[in-house]
Symmetry: C2
Subunit: 228 residues, 2 copies
Amino acid sequence: MVNRGNADVLIVGAGPAALFAIFQLGIYGFRCHLVDRLDRAGGQCAVLYPDKPIYDVPGFPEISGGELTERLMRQAAPCDPRFTFGRSVVALAATDGGAWRVGLDDGTPIDTGCVILATGLGLFDRPPGASAEELVPGPVAQWPLERNRGGIRVDPSTFQAAHVQTAQQGLFAIGDACDYPGKVKLILSGFHEAALATQEIRRHLTGKRPTVAYSTTSKRVRERLGRG
Amino acid sequence: MVNRGNADVLIVGAGPAALFAIFQLGIYGFRCHLVDRLDRAGGQCAVLYPDKPIYDVPGFPEISGGELTERLMRQAAPCDPRFTFGRSVVALAATDGGAWRVGLDDGTPIDTGCVILATGLGLFDRPPGASAEELVPGPVAQWPLERNRGGIRVDPSTFQAAHVQTAQQGLFAIGDACDYPGKVKLILSGFHEAALATQEIRRHLTGKRPTVAYSTTSKRVRERLGRG
């Protein structure tokens, strides 16, 4: 059994894929802690185009980044996530017991069973006062992870990332930060990636085989969502 | 150049994945013809649980199958899809010019550039008067396609299916009917599968490399959606 430390799952980033991961993991009883260097949830949606209409989120002929963020936050709320805003994750290390320790830029360590990198464009940092085009590689961009086409290379059946210095399992990448054959940087793909990563995290943390719980038919899922 | 016949893309099924495929393909200027043996759009959502709440569609803390169907139809409407309801696709054959011909159960042939199998549970048929449990394999279940775990095996980077009697390209499977490593039968995965199949269909029909058009930034996409 993996030692889960302070959080079942630590998620770096708080964009749409990260927010939906809270919900997916919550369905199976896992609690997430999200860390984002921005001062609020939503990632690119919140910062780059909070009011600009998006037309390609399934089921929404038109939605703003702000509204999508608000709706994903509301959907995730019953899963009781913890948020740390305005902080960057600068360090990552495998620890004993199959777990991970991340370090924040203020020195705070967080022990966790799994880490999901959902940093979006946030593999890069924007220095204070710089334009959106003047990005420099951020801390995560400097970690020893396998890369492809500028993204973190993942196994598209599990969304596990490969850390080149340890064979330890439990490190994932989803959303615009990840890359795999056929990858398209769409918000809707981030949702799918969060769902498949959830199945592998469940296997990793509990040893359970991935049997999917459906919200329409599972009483337990409805109870966890406060819909009992 | 592939001879596209009567329809750029013929989609078997009209559930959520199929409806979102209309929109994704429409963004790139392709027009779809959907054939479903049911008398309306929505697939399982419309027939099995039109009023039952679903909690795991991203961005919707709660939505009924009926409302989701209505919203996906509205999102797809600017792409001018054609629907044939109450008919089954019973035959499939590769034709000259790299195209496909499907045959309906009333004998109607439809020539098309690509075929997407989005049959959901509809690999199976329910005989008249039978219960939901009394399913028998339908026509698609008898086609010579590679299978895995009861689904149509696809390449998860393109969602192409492999027809065992021809090397012809342009046959796809998405949604609950398809299978690949890590596959989870979630509505949201069907959306992702539709988006990635769209990129491969674009490459197949036009030879264009998959450069993604974003609805927030592409004037052409907005014009096609009547949002110019």
